[in-house]
């Protein structure tokens, strides 16, 4: 039976502010799940804490709304124990790049087959608009008492440096592009990251929808807005690491890093970097546990009729005196 878009929606009341970019992100996730026809019980959305954290309640697959900054830890635990699950982690920029930054880096080093979306709105939405780690130095969004004193984190650059093997950016109001990016990210074998530019109309009065559309930088002659956002895939950019050589790898890493620095007047979205050569974490596990994928922790039979079926006698014999 075909699963429809509606099958992936819950009836839960949505309390995001009108016009919030988060609506677009939830829609895109639902559309992507429907497109991939992932059975509802085989998918799980893990979310952090923040406005963005509520995402898991609006999608009609397993939804685990975790702790501030810890979403990746819960998500990875579930994936490790049941590699059969399709797992999408979602959270705010404060969640993932502030309090949870250590987990971000560690997850990159593991490269589990998970997709992680950061809702990048430059602010801490749910706590009323403090600066998030992605807000630029010196910027003052409307509820900041004074301009931001920290340099910003570059999410794309950090993901690449940490070992994520699929690194992309998309835009909350370009739902189709975002849906396609999510689908590509989920289909990628390994850890994928999407930096989702998400306007927060309530607290971020700098990176607004109009700003992204370039309303402030009209063409002098045509008087038309010059959109900041452009698509990498339409600019001849090739994110894929084609060969397992140092030169190729360095070239693709450098290219992605340089691309990620483009901001003020032109902002690229699309896939920055894709590496299918670096081993996935489950491969690394099967090197030590050959039947890990056929018999992962969640599938193992541990008892019959209340009695343990584990045989520890080999070890006990070695301890016998």
């Amino acid at each position: 039976m075909d699963l429809k878009l509606g099958d992936y929606k819950t009836q839960v009341h949505n309390d995001w502010c009108p016009g919030c970019g988060d609506f677009g992100i939830v829609n895109a996730i639902q559309m992507s799940l429907a497109e991939m026809q992932i059975p509802r019980h085989k998918a799980a959305i893990f979310s952090g804490i923040g406005c963005s954290g509520k995402t898991s309640h609006f999608i009609n697959v397993n939804g685990i709304h975790t702790l501030h900054g810890r979403v990746l830890t819960f998500a990875q635990g579930a994936k490790l124990a049941n590699p059969d699950m399709t797992i999408i982690a979602a959270g705010g920029d404060g969640d993932g790049l502030g309090i949870g930054a250590g987990h971000f880096v560690a997850a990159g080093r593991r490269n589990l087959d998970i997709t992680y979306l950061i809702f990048n709105n430059g602010v801490y939405g749910l706590t009323k608009g403090q600066a998030s780690p992605t807000l630029k130095l010196g910027e003052k969004t409307k509820s900041l008492p004074s301009p931001n004193t920290n340099y910003n984190v570059n999410p794309i650059g950090l993901a690449i440096a940490s070992g994520f093997t699929f690194v992309a950016r998309s835009y909350a109001y370009d739902v189709r592009h975002l849906k396609d990016t999510i689908t590509a990210a989920v289909r990628h074998k390994g850890l994928s990251f999407i930096d989702v530019l998400q306007p927060c109309p309530t607290y971020n009065d700098i990176n607004t929808r109009d700003w992204y559309s370039g309303m402030d930088q009209a063409d002098e002659i045509t008087k038309m807005a010059k959109p900041r956002i452009y698509k990498l895939e339409e600019s001849g950019y090739d994110p894929l690491v084609h060969y397992d050589t140092e030169t190729e790898l360095n070239e693709k890493l450098t290219q992605a890093l340089i691309k990620s620095l483009e901001w003020d007047t032109k902002i690229p979205i699309g896939v920055f970097y894709k590496n299918e050569i670096i081993s996935q974490y489950d491969r690394r596990l099967t090197d030590k546990i050959p039947n890990y994928l056929e018999n992962p922790p969640a599938s193992q039979i541990i008892s019959t009729n209340g009695k343990s079926v584990t045989d520890i006698s080999r070890i006990l014999d070695s301890l016998s005196v």
Binding site: T10, V12, P39, H41, A44, F46, I49, S56, H57, V61, N62, G63, I64, H65, T66, L67, R70, L72, T73, F74, A75, Q76, G77, A78, K79, L80, A81, N82, M85, G102, H103, V105, A106, L285, K288, I289, N291, Y292, N295, P296, P297, A298, Q300, I301, I302, S303, G306, K307, S308, V309, T310, D311, I312, S313, R314, I315, L316, L319, S320, V321
Partner: protein, 636 residues
């Protein structure tokens, strides 16, 4: 028949192989049929600082160390400076005579506090601050001195077996030390050689060389020192005995009861367990393909508990293992597991805090903080084991509690148990039952994760189960797991979760809640590792016709008020024994029974209790010589 009860101490710089020497010694004695109780003390340092091992050997059941050392083996100066006065009259110090001129001054690893204390003692006795000085004192105390030049012995051995390479081989000192000791104790050398074979089983040439060295050294000491009154004669061997390290109980318990996922972050003294699990990650399964315990080293303890919860949500029995500092970091997620009713087990090997505290030393400081860890009110179970053997079976119980009551269970262990080496009965997997509670493997129709039920426990789905899609949140939620702030639902959900505590007390059998070892008007209460030294001390007192009862409380939260009250009904004097400063179990008692301990025997030096100390303190109480609070200090 006279009883055999010998305590052997070996010391040396960290990283010099003291541990492997102790291992060979213990194995040899255990294989001979003796019971072993060994414990390791070490500094938070990798190479150079003093570490030592005491191994008590007896033909009776023993559960603790004693103060007295019967025979001390020293091949470095610090061991002698530190421990010379622990050796009893007619005991012996076997030592490397090449170090007898060493001065206290040149023994740099000794800290200033001890140096000052020792200098004062030496000057009082008018002895020089040298090895010879302290040995003189020992001799005056009636201790036998058995000097051996390790260098000379190696040299003669090298000549005898025509292998000049081993002449200066310091690596051999451990085997030499063990063999000299067993020679002095006249224990037949067969099991010594066997145990060398076992320990070096992967390197035949090394094993052979070590055996030659052992035989030579054994014969040398046995021939030279014939006046030692303590001996280890052949004894009858108990069937089904194993010799285990402290962490083997929880590690093997986890394997046996089906824990298949353990994320962890390294910390002393807890990581030994995880490393053992990972070293044995392929698990044999009866009549089936092998299973595995997936052990993942995480970036911190927050990640460790987050992953553990994630694993548990898939229906996998999942656990983590940590110690104080790591457990503190887990507090927030503990509450998440509580509100979402996720069965996880956290094994915590306590050490002395606060903060880093005494990171390689023992303590039981974390009872109250564990019971209260995390903000908000949520149910949890805190359960404590008293020794290694218990911890194997308790691990199985902890996972059952977690599954049946759907909550986090904290299994409290400590450094004393963790770094002990003991003989005990072979663990019996047959005695472990596995109860997964209301975990579903099939769902029909509408599913609600937090459905309200009469016993407050809802059927539990798992990630990946068809029709069993569910939601969790750290917010208060409705029955389906979606956020709510409705006051009426809040009451229902709080009552549901916290109502489990009463259900727990009603359904966990009494003998799993607490163990009563005989009733008497005077009764000791304790929890965790003091169990061994308490039982040994009570046995010593019983020989003097003094009867003291003992209640070991295992379920510490929810507190088994009714059962403990029943056990204490006729007790006139309560003595609380535990390894912390404030008497935390005593506090629990006061909170729950409106009655507190009359006496406290406590220790917070970071060193474990000996049965001797407890015996002495209990005697003080009986003889009306005791203060309300006796603080134990033995051990360097």
């Amino acid at each position: 028949m006279t009883l055999t009860d010998v305590s052997w101490l070996i010391g040396g710089p960290q990283g010099s192989g003291v541990e492997s020497a102790a291992n060979i010694f213990s194995r040899a004695c255990a294989a001979m049929g003796y019971q072993i109780f060994g414990k390791r003390e070490f500094h938070s340092n990798i190479k150079g600082d003093h570490s030592y091992f005491t191994v008590r050997v007896s033909d009776q059941i023993i559960r603790s160390n004693v103060n007295d050392v019967t025979i001390m083996m020293a091949f470095d100066a610090e061991t002698i400076f530190r421990h010379y006065d622990e050796v009893i009259k007619n005991g012996a110090i076997v030592y490397d005579s090449d170090i007898s001129e060493t001065t206290l001054n040149e023994t740099h690893t000794i800290d200033n506090q001890y140096r000052t204390r020792l200098l004062a003692r030496l000057s009082l006795k008018k002895k020089p601050a040298t090895i010879q000085g302290v040995l003189d004192i020992a001799k005056e105390n009636g201790v036998k001195l058995y000097p051996i030049s390790f260098k000379t012995v190696l040299s003669s051995l090298a000549d005898e077996i025509n292998n000049p390479k081993i002449k200066g081989m310091v690596r051999m000192y451990n085997v030499l030390g063990v063999s000299f000791s067993l020679g002095v104790l006249k224990m037949p050398p067969k099991t010594l050689l066997d145990s060398i074979d076992v320990i070096f089983s992967k390197k035949q040439a090394v094993a052979d060389l070590n055996k030659k060295t052992a035989t030579f050294a054994y014969n040398y000491a046995a021939a030279k020192f014939v006046d030692f009154e303590y001996t280890l004669k052949p004894t009858t061997k108990k069937q089904n005995t194993i010799m285990v390290q402290g962490y083997h109980g929880t590690a093997l318990g986890k394997m046996a009861c089906g824990c298949r996922f353990q994320p962890y972050y390294p910390i002393t003294p807890a990581s030994d367990e995880s490393v053992f699990l990972e070293s044995n990650e392929l698990v044999d399964v009866i009549d089936n393909r092998p299973g595995s315990t997936l052990v993942v080293q995480t970036e911190d303890e927050i990640a460790a508990i987050g992953m553990t919860i994630g694993g548990a949500l898939t229906g996998t029995r999942s656990a983590t293992c940590t110690s104080g500092p790591g457990f503190s970091l887990m507090a927030e997620a503990l509450g998440w597991a509580g509100i979402n009713e996720v069965p996880i087990v956290i094994t915590t090997y306590q050490r002395s805090g606060p903060s880093t505290g005494l990171p390689t030393r023992h303590g039981q400081d974390d009872l109250l903080s564990t019971i209260h860890a995390g903000h908000g009110e949520f149910p949890r179970i805190v359960y404590a084991s008293g020794d290694v053997e218990e911890s194997f079976y308790d691990t199985g119980r902890c996972f059952n509690y977690a599954d049946v009551y759907q909550l986090p269970v904290i299994h409290m262990m400590d450094k004393f148990i963790g770094s002990s080496v003991v003989t005990c009965n072979k663990f019996d997997t047959e005695k472990i039952t596995i109860n997964r509670g209301k975990l579903l493997d099939k769902v029909d129709g509408n599913y609600q994760r937090f459905a309200l039920t009469p016993d407050n426990i809802s059927p539990r789905s798992k990630l990946g189960l068809e029709n069993g899609v569910f939601w969790n949140t750290g917010d208060e939620s409705d029955e389906s797991g979606h956020i709510t702030e409705d006051p009426e639902l809040r009451i229902k959900m709080m009552d549901k979760r916290l109502g489990k505590l009463l259900h727990i007390l009603k359904t966990i059998p009494d003998d799993e809640q607490a163990i009563s070892y005989g009733k008497a008007e005077i009764c000791v209460i304790s929890w965790g590792s003091p169990k061994g030294p308490i039982l040994d001390a009570l046995q010593m007192l019983r020989k003097e016709n003094v009867d003291i009862g003992f209640i070991q409380i295992k379920l510490l939260h929810p507190f088994p008020k009714d059962y403990v009250e029943f056990l204490l009904k006729d007790v006139k004097t309560i003595i609380d024994i535990e390894a912390n400063h404030t008497g935390q179990l005593g506090e629990l008692l006061k909170q729950n029974l409106e009655r507190g301990p009359d006496f406290y025997i406590i220790k917070y030096t970071g060193r474990s209790m000996t049965s001797t100390e407890i015996y002495d303190s209990l005697k003080n109480i009986i003889q009306n010589k005791a203060q309300k609070r006796q603080v134990l200090t033995h051990g360097s």
